[in-house]
């Protein structure tokens, strides 16, 4: 019992346990929210808000609307939950960038991920996971693109980052 508790707090969780917890919570989100779990639509709304503030976009989303959006709290939950889990396992620490090229790859990768997720109307959560879960063709097309993208990404990684 003590060992189970230690693994639960400290990890590592077996992959199948993580998958089942994620699946259960995903169903819960769908039941409560009446809409599947997604990440990037809300991030886009916040980006529009910031862009308007900086005078880069004419479209305006009021902050009150963003603070009332479920997506804001789902995303905050992901970040704060991860922080809490790392703190509980006493594995939280500053992890400085060891090589400059990793910083560049992270920035370029982040831009592609964000832009790609929005032109695909969803990321791997809203588009892929919940796309397939709701028998949408989008999810399968997304999966195909993920395999292709990963293959190209692996080539780039081997050439520049190893």
């Amino acid at each position: 019992m003590k060992k189970i508790w230690r693994t639960a707090v400290h990890g590592p969780w077996p992959y199948w346990v993580g998958a089942m917890v994620l699946g259960g919570l995903n169903i819960l989100v769908l039941l409560v929210r009446k809409r599947p779990w997604g990440v990037t639509s809300n991030l886009q709304d916040w980006a529009v808000w910031l862009a308007h503030l900086l005078g880069l976009a004419s479209e305006r989303i009021p902050v009150s609307q963003l603070l009332l959006a479920e997506g804001t709290y789902l995303n905050l939950g992901v970040v704060l939950g991860a922080l809490w889990a790392a703190l509980a396992a006493s594995q939280w620490r500053f992890r400085p960038l060891r090589q400059r090229k990793f910083g560049f790859s992270a920035l370029i990768g982040g831009l592609f991920l964000g832009y790609g997720a929005r032109i695909a109307y969803g990321c791997n959560v809203g588009g892929l996971l919940n796309g397939i879960a709701s028998s949408s063709l989008t999810g399968w097309v997304f999966a195909l693109a993920v395999f292709l993208g990963t293959w190209i990404g692996a080539k780039i990684l081997l050439k520049f980052l190893v």
Binding site: G11, P12, A86, S90, Q91, W92, R93, R95, P96, L97, R98, Q99, F102, A154, L157, L158, L161, V162
Partner: protein
Amino acid sequence: MEYYLDIWGEMCPIPIIKSQRKLKVMAIGDSLVLETEHSCTARGLVVWAQKEGYPISESEVAAGIWRLTIAKTHD
């Protein structure tokens, strides 16, 4: 002989590819020591070594820092 590979701050699959290359030039009976501050890198290496049939020991030497030792038992 004992070898050490620097994988600080690196994310999978880079440490796995580096380990594969290092193991190739090592002799049977040698061991490879790795240290990482990323839990997913430690996990990825353990899962990979077990799949390849290399004995691996893992210990969290400080909060959020893992030390792994892989024994090269076969080619």
